[in-house]
């Protein structure tokens, strides 16, 4: 008998510990490169600011309210997760082995139990990273519990969650040619969830009574909004403390308790129960006789496909056969074909439900902001609060949309050989890619925010009425387009000049790690800073001109329009210069410059 069948655990231990060690060494080695050391320093500075901030430094002061809220959220979150794992469609990712694991371990002379153990072992690296992050985050306001104890509590909780999810997936899936076993585990879970729902329904009236009490608060000033949140928390806590609900939630409470303990004594009391729950889960998974290899192969392939798609396009969307068709004319400029390709991709990855939901939320916010909502006597405060929320959402979209919408060179550099062999000048390729992305991003933002902006502006009143209001919306859209143009150009510039800094068709062993996260932050900050610099000149010129003209016989709207047009023209001039430079950069770019294309 050879050593592998005699001691498969040793082989698994070797596989995962070596893999983690090699990955760590690889990430340390690459710190010799300036871009990685800079990224790592950025992350280190950020983490240090979290750990050593005055709020976090161990002061001995515990904020039990904060700790209670965290525990409350985690209990509700876990109850919700149980509903999803046992009642919604089974997840692919719980059974998703890596392609290498499938090809090496599944045909190997190891039993099913070893394969399950391999899965459990392989998730440990991710769990440990999560434990470190959450230990740091949870130090805020609850510094009495030593970090090691907090980490152990968190690991127990995360490992239990991971095991439960795997168990739910195993219990709910079966290979097509294997007779389905009596779904005992599923029945137990469903009965548990139904009992929990019934107990919560019975306890709900008393919790609602607490909440109704808060309605006596007559004003919506900020302090009362906070008061209401606290009353809501109390109502929820009352619901969870109902004897029946409390009893049913005991396993969840027991599993979460060590992670959220106030102090060492509470942790010591809570830990044994959490360990017992973890051990029960472990035995449950290992004793489950369900053959899962065939399902795991399918799950792994689907999961790998989704990950690969996400790395290529930044989207987890799965393309479906029913598709939009917009026939490309066979006659016209080659650049038109590129624009058509990107528009088609945008439409095919577009999910109407997501946009409709976003529009609905923004419109409701704007409607309430515009009309006062009609459900409170003091409408001014809530209106201004919602108007502020709307402006914040809009500003957030302006700042982040170009980072999220990536159907430009960030997507197409994965097809660099195609771009380089296409018979089109490189500056035309760059310009077309950026213009198409700008048009799509601006149109999506105009659709999402256009009508709501109209409602908010109308409610504010003032000098803008009728045609002025319409002009403001049109001018705003043009200005937004100009900002998006430069913003998207800068992202493409980073993709061309520093291809290793922008996630393109990422893959292979050279990705991930703290230094890469740091690179992403630095890129984001750098792009926003450069964008501000590039916009400063045109904005100053446009504003100056508008101010000058406003003092003459010209109407204010005309002066503002001329100022806006001037600013936009200057932005376009800056963009043309950048597009030329980027064209040259694309000409020089080679597959070897992009780490993910070197395979």
């Amino acid at each position: 008998m050879n050593g592998v069948t005699a001691a498969p655990w040793r082989a698994l231990w070797f596989l995962y510990t070596r893999s983690w060690r090699n990955r760590l060494f690889q990430q340390l080695r690459r710190l010799r490169q300036p871009r990685y050391i800079v990224g790592a320093l950025a992350v280190f500075a950020y983490v240090a600011s979290l750990v050593f901030s005055p709020q976090t430094i161990a002061t001995g002061i515990v904020n039990p309210a904060l700790v209670d809220v965290r525990e409350l959220i985690s209990i509700i979150g876990l109850a919700g997760a149980l509903v999803a794992w046992w009642l919604a469609a089974p997840s692919d990712s719980a059974l998703a082995y890596s392609p290498a694991e499938v090809y090496f371990l599944f045909p190997a002379p190891v039993n099913r139990r070893t394969l399950v153990q391999a899965r459990l072992l392989s998730v440990q690296a991710v769990l440990l990273v999560q434990v470190v992050i959450w230990t740091m985050l949870l130090r805020r306001g609850s510094a009495e519990l030593p970090a090691v104890m907090r980490a152990l509590g968190l690991w127990t909780l995360f490992a239990t969650i991971s095991l439960h999810r795997l168990g739910a997936t195993l219990a709910r899936t079966h290979a097509p040619d294997v007779p389905r076993r009596p779904p005992i585990a599923q029945a137990v879970a469903v009965i548990f969830l139904l009992a929990l729902a019934a107990a919560a329904a019975i306890a709900a009236p008393s919790a609602l009574a607490i909440w109704r009490g808060s309605l006596a608060l007559s004003s919506y000033d900020t302090s009362h909004v906070v008061d209401r949140l606290f009353v809501g928390r109390s109502a929820l806590q009352a619901l969870l403390n109902d004897p029946a609900v409390h009893l049913l939630l005991w396993p969840i409470r027991a599993a979460t308790a060590p992670a959220f303990s106030h102090d060492a004594l509470a942790w010591l009391k809570a830990m044994p129960a959490a360990i017992v729950i973890l051990a029960v889960h472990y035995l449950w998974i290992l004793r489950d006789p369900q053959p899962f290899e065939e399902l795991a192969v399918g799950s792994s392939a689907r999961f790998a496909d989704r990950v690969s798609r996400m790395r290529r396009s930044g989207s987890l969307t799965t393309l479906k056969p029913s598709r939009f068709r917009w026939e490309l004319s066979l006659h016209g400029t080659p650049a038109g074909a590129l624009a058509w390709k990107n528009l088609t991709a945008a439409v095919r990855t577009f999910r109407p439900r997501a946009l409709l939901l976003a529009i609905a939320i923004v419109v409701i916010i704007a409607l309430v902001a515009g009309s006062g909502g009609g459900f409170d006597p003091d409408r001014g405060a809530i209106r201004s609060a919602l108007a502020t929320t709307f402006v914040s959402v809009f500003a957030g979209a302006v700042l982040t949309a170009p980072a999220w919408f990536r159907l430009d060179l960030r997507h197409d550099l994965a097809h660099l050989p195609f771009l380089k062999t296409a018979p089109i000048p490189t500056h035309t390729i760059v310009a077309t890619e950026i213009l198409t992305a700008t048009a799509i991003t601006t149109a999506a933002m105009a659709i999402l925010f256009g009508a709501p902006s109209f409602l908010v502006l109308r409610s504010i009143g003032g000098p803008l009425t009728g045609a002025g209001l319409a002009l403001a919306i049109i001018g705003g859209t043009i200005a937004l387009g100009a900002v998006n143009l430069l913003h998207i150009t800068l992202y493409n510039a980073v993709a061309l000049w520093l291809p290793a800094w922008v996630p393109l068709n990422q893959g292979g062993a050279n990705t991930g790690g703290a230094s890469v996260v740091g690179q992403v932050y630095i890129t984001l900050i750098g792009i926003l800073a450069t964008l501000s610099l590039l916009l400063a000149g045109p904005v100053a010129a446009g504003y100056g001109l508008a101010s000058l003209l406003a003092g003459t016989w010209l109407p204010l709207l005309a002066a503002l329009s001329i100022g806006l047009i001037t600013a936009v023209c200057l932005v376009v001039l800056e963009w043309l210069a950048l597009a030329r430079l980027l064209g040259r950069a694309l000409e020089r770019l080679e597959p070897s410059d992009i780490p993910s294309l070197q395979t």
Binding site: P321, L328, L330, G336, K420, T421, P423
Partner: protein, 261 residues
């Protein structure tokens, strides 16, 4: 300067001209001083061990890589001076088909037709779909195609604009026996109508069967160039040996002798 163009075919002769081409990656020289010419209608096989510089040479000829030194001409157009004109006349088929996730089979062809300004594309596209047995899959996205079908689509997009120069990197990867036969026929037919073909492959029987001449690269340098008969003449003692033995022998002969051996 405009190239000398054949009035009938619109193609200069030779179709591919490489003069003193070198490519370095930092301190590493991938190709050193390569000079060669491929006339119209010739199929040149590019062979050599891993790391010999085959893919670098093909990628440079396709305009993907910029030479560190030397000139590359496609149908008379210098890739450095007139890249767009040169690229209009060439097609590159990589070993791994890189298709756009969001375009269907037919849309890939329409997209390519527009990109290259193909005349009568509305007639040519159905022909190519039928030739590659992709008609039934014309509305399928790449994710719905097998590896072989993707390769066929890649070939169809390459042939759509009737290139004067066809560059293939390991063209038989992933194809089934019928696909291999069709690919060989396609390459032969293209050569018969005057296309200059340059292909790299580790399959020596393919090279022997298809290629009129063979270029053996080793460590970025030319180890041998000529017809199979000419290469055999270089090693008379291997006259009856297999092609594999001949190439291994020629490769070893050209390798620099390390100290102590």
């Amino acid at each position: 300067m405009q190239p000398t163009v054949d009035s009938e075919t619109g193609v200069t002769s030779p179709a591919i001209e490489v003069h003193n081409f070198s490519k370095r990656y930092g301190a590493v020289a991938a190709v050193k001083g390569l000079t060669l010419a491929v006339p119209r209608g010739e199929i040149l096989g590019l062979v050599g061990p891993n790391g010999a510089g085959k893919t670098t040479t093909l990628r440079a000829l396709a305009g993907i890589l910029r030479p560190t030194e030397g000139t590359l001409r496609i149908a008379g157009y210098d890739l450095a001076i007139s890249p767009v004109e040169a690229k209009r006349r060439l097609a590159f088929i990589p070993d791994e088909p890189h298709l756009f996730d969001y375009l269907t089979v037919e849309e890939h062809l329409r997209f390519t037709a527009r990109l290259y300004g193909v005349a009568h594309a509305d007639l040519r596209i159905p022909e190519l779909l039928a030739e590659m047995e992709l008609t039934e899959k014309r509305l399928a996205l790449p994710s719905e195609l097998s590896r072989g079908m993707k390769q066929k689509l890649s070939v169809a997009t390459a042939l759509l604009h009737d290139p004067a120069v066809l560059i293939l990197d390991e063209p038989l990867t992933g194809l089934d026996p019928v696909g291999i036969r069709r690919m060989k026929d396609t390459i032969r037919r293209r050569a018969q109508v005057g296309t200059a073909v340059i292909l790299s492959s580790h399959l020596l029987n393919l090279v022997e069967e298809l290629c009129t001449r063979v270029l053996l690269l080793n460590r970025g340098e030319v180890a041998a160039l000529g017809t199979i008969a000419e290469l055999r003449a270089l090693r008379p003692e291997l006259a009856t040996a297999s092609l594999e033995d001949l190439f291994i022998s020629l490769t070893e002969e050209s390798a620099p002798v390390s100290s102590g051996t």
